[in-house]
């Protein structure tokens, strides 16, 4: 049977979202950033809200998000995406505003802005790419780097004197202003599908004026980790996920009890 009988528009089951344009992502091969950008585009497309979305980029490997998405985007300074998003949302309360930040951006230099946007319960969607490292600048230690992790600035492994890996989602879940906090991953098809639902939820919450939704994605930075993409995802399963377990942390403003 000819394959061209299958490859027909009416048989289409998956195609890159039209919210993404044809430029090639600047990410390294196999980087989780790409999947997250795809998901954002898909959720926006499915909700049919392109004309109501304002994105906020940050400084990190996703800095060029405005290049790839056919959306209005404001590019924030390193660490300040939550403040920038606050500024936008406050004067444009009817728009959907999301921010997209790495772990260095959100949990190191931007700690204060992140915490206070969460604490104020800004009605936005904060998307957090936790790859345990500073990808863009060449693989330096991030606040989320695991103990023992070798990075450009912890070449012999992160030790206690360098601080402890911080679970930002758990921290912000403690704050009254967060309505939905979840931790997801995108390196298996099942995880991607689940993550997309979570992201959709986070956008839907904005429509309902529920306050802040915080979606963490634990992803690989294979370049920074100095592993092949496949190996990096395996390492992620073995090391990152035990410390950063997946699942909802807070739903409808209530922390999910862990004993369940």
């Amino acid at each position: 049977m000819d394959i061209n009988e299958i490859i027909k528009e009416e048989n289409l089951v998956y195609r890159k979202s039209a919210v993404l344009n044809d430029k090639v992502f600047n990410f390294c091969p196999g980087c989780g950033h790409g999947v997250v950008q795809k998901l954002i585009a898909e959720v926006v497309e499915e909700m049919n809200i392109e004309s109501e979305v304002i994105g906020v980029g940050s400084v990190g490997c996703s800095v060029l998000v405005y290049e790839f998405m056919e959306l209005d985007v404001v590019s924030a300074a390193h660490g300040r995406a939550a403040a920038v998003a606050t500024g936008i949302k406050r004067v444009m309360p009817d728009k959907y505003v999301f921010s997209l930040q790495g772990d260095g951006d959100l949990a190191a230099i931007g700690t204060s802005e992140s915490i206070h946007a969460c604490n104020r319960g800004e009605n936005i969607t904060m998307i957090f790419i936790n790859n345990g490292i500073y990808g863009m600048t060449g693989g330096q230690m991030a606040p989320t780097s695991l103990h023992g992790m070798k990075t450009a600035t912890s070449p012999y492994g992160r030790n206690e004197a360098m601080g402890h890996p911080i679970r930002m989602s758990d921290v912000v879940a403690q704050l009254e202003g967060t309505y939905y906090v979840t931790r997801q991953a995108v390196h298996t098809p099942a995880m991607v599908r689940k993550a997309k639902k979570a992201l959709r939820q986070a956008f839907e919450n904005q429509k309902l004026n529920k306050g802040l939704s915080f979606v963490e994605f634990v992803t690989n930075c294979n370049s920074g980790w100095k592993l092949s993409p496949i190996k990096a995802n395996q390492w992620l399963d073995q090391h990152m996920l035990p410390f950063y377990p997946l699942g909802d942390i807070k739903t409808e403003g209530v922390i999910v009890t862990k004993d369940k």
């Binding site: 009988e5 299958i6 195609r15 979202s17 090639v24 990410f27 795809k38 098809p189």
Partner: protein, 76 residues
């Protein structure tokens, strides 16, 4: 009995050869080309086209949105 057949189209010039599609394909449909594209990457292709069931797993995990998936039910 109806049989599900799938097919994928890889935008070879955009593929970065990360192999994640191959790794996540449940049916071993995908292989990596020996040749490289103009960026120097070995790109993904349907090594066993008949095996594809159109599950979209490959496309869903592809970080670069390189794969388009089609699926058709054939009456046998």
């Amino acid at each position: 009995m109806a049989k599900i057949r799938g097919a994928i189209v890889v935008d070879t010039e955009r593929c970065k050869g990360c192999e994640l599609c191959m790794y996540n394909c449940p049916t071993q449909t995908i292989g990596m080309e020996h040749k490289v594209n103009s960026k120097g990457y070995h790109y993904a292709y349907m090594e066993n086209p008949e095996a594809c069931i159109g599950c979209t797993n490959c496309a869903v995990v592809c970080p670069d949105g390189v794969i388009t998936v089609y699926k058709k039910k054939f009456e046998q």
